[in-house]
Assembly symmetry: C2
Homo-oligomer: 301 residues x 2
């Protein structure tokens, strides 16, 4: 089971303390050392709106490039892709993750256009990215609920996906952490109907303590990848009350112990989670493995 | 789906600050007002080992007795039952919850005898309690893992249950919060083989962020009751690194939103969770609903 480490992007972007580029590069290197192989390391967003991501190009230039490691960059519009294509091909990300929000109200606040207009923009960007050899993930944000308009119906998510056009991967995101496993099952059926054969990825926040139950449900339903952040840090700057991602070390504990090996070493990942929390000046990270200790290795700890 | 509120017992017993009896009674009353109907309110343990429970008789004398509300008392040995039977029948608990630990090492540390000896003691106490008209739950503690000896095999849990004799209910407890859903499935099969037809209850801690995933798994497997504590407070004084129970308000959110209504009002339960945290002097409770807000009612919150 693949864990996509989104800490360097989703974990950081909501944090007030802007980390130096060198610290971000160390963060990525430490994540790789803990066993992560696919990492969402930057977003191409407006620096005035997401200051933490202003050095996206420098981060991509600085991160190590070992064989087997793939980098993802989050993109919100064509200008984000322009910035990627302006980079030397050797330091580009391997994939883009393009966000379309499931509800019009949240879409307008996030990207200045409604969902269908943002799908039009996605199709253009996706075609250009594919031509440049980049993988293309479509993330449907707020698929499990919207902070402004409440419930999101599965039919709406199905319509959004059906209008998206070609993609390499489809990611269902519970941006504000309201979803439950029954919704995972329902939205998975909708996604498979609207985009048959497209590999699925999921993005859960643990805002209401349902994130790990949703994650194991997605894993059992055959999702190829799950997003998580070391330490469980993160949120969304434009979604009220959105708290941390599910934590990489806790998710790896859950999956490894469930017979779904992730390649992530739990104690090492927990150390990185504690380290990034310290770098961000957090008193404590949401991840629990760093405090509780691995099991059975951590017996008595 | 029934939630058993164990905060007044398991939530409090590990807390250093001993609450006045009147506060404990208010705690129970507030829990009932939030919709809880079955509450584990005291333990009959040695006051020198569990000072928080020294006033068990006074708590039972003081709590309200509305129709439909049932009280449970945790019991570790025959002396605990003696104390219950010494009470006026009008203020006795409706049920006892007798703990037997799955591993010998932990059993000896907890009750001074190995598991099989403690099953002998259980059979005697269960017969006396049933004769006095009390419901009898057997809780198999550390069924998902032991803090001293590590992994616990499903075969061991099956043997423990098969040797227990008659009971009203069987509770599988992940005392130190190491379990994953696959273990819930495996142990459920073992329990049903060893005690066919006995209603099942589960007790999860969220020490490694797997508690809610385990709880929804148990609910889907047909468990009749799930333990939780308002605010997610609690632990076990004799289990190293054991942290809080799963939180009543967060579990109620998960179950209510999954089409498994609990009768618990999430916002009211979250208020009680925050209140008991304040009474205990905690900076923050582990429960998340109090901070995140209900959904969709809490949209934007």
């Amino acid at each position: 089971m693949e864990i996509v480490e989104v800490g360097p992007r989703d974990g950081l972007q909501n944090e007030k303390r802007v980390l130096p580029t060198a610290t971000k590069i160390e963060y990525v290197s430490r994540a790789i050392a803990a066993g992560l192989r696919r990492l969402e390391v930057v977003a191409f967003a407006r620096p005035d709106r997401v200051p933490q991501m202003a050095d996206a190009e420098d981060v991509l230039r600085g991160v190590p490039r070992p064989a087997g490691v793939r980098y993802v960059a989050l993109v919100l519009n064509g200008r984000g892709l322009d910035r990627i294509l302006a980079l030397d091909p050797a330091v580009r990300p391997h994939e883009i993750n393009y966000v379309v929000v499931a509800t019009d109200e949240f879409a307008r606040r996030n990207q200045g256009m409604d969902t269908m207009a943002s799908l039009d923009a996605f199709r253009t960007v996706a075609a250009r990215a594919a031509e440049a050899g980049l993988g293309v993930t479509l993330t449907v944000a707020a698929a499990f609920g919207c902070p402004f308009t409440g419930e999101v119906e599965a039919d709406r998510v199905r319509d959004v996906i059906a209008n998206a056009g070609p993609m390499t991967e489809l990611c269902l995101a519970d941006t504000i952490g309201v979803g439950v496993p029954a919704q995972v099952t329902e939205l998975t059926a909708a996604a498979r109907e609207a985009a048959p054969g497209v590999p699925l990825r999921a993005h859960f926040h643990n805002t209401r303590n349902t994130g790990y139950a949703n994650a194991i449900t997605a894993a059992r339903l055959g999702f190829a990848a799950l997003d998580a952040s070391l330490g469980g840090i993160g949120g969304c700057p434009f979604a009220p009350a959105a708290t941390g991602n599910i934590a990489t070390e806790d998710l790896a504990y859950l999956l490894n112990r469930s017979g779904l090996p992730t390649g992530v070493a739990v104690p090492e990942a927990a150390e990185v989670g504690e380290w990034i929390g310290t770098e961000l000046g957090l008193a404590e990270v949401p991840a629990q493995l760093g405090r509780a200790g691995d099991f059975p290795a951590g017996v008595g700890g």
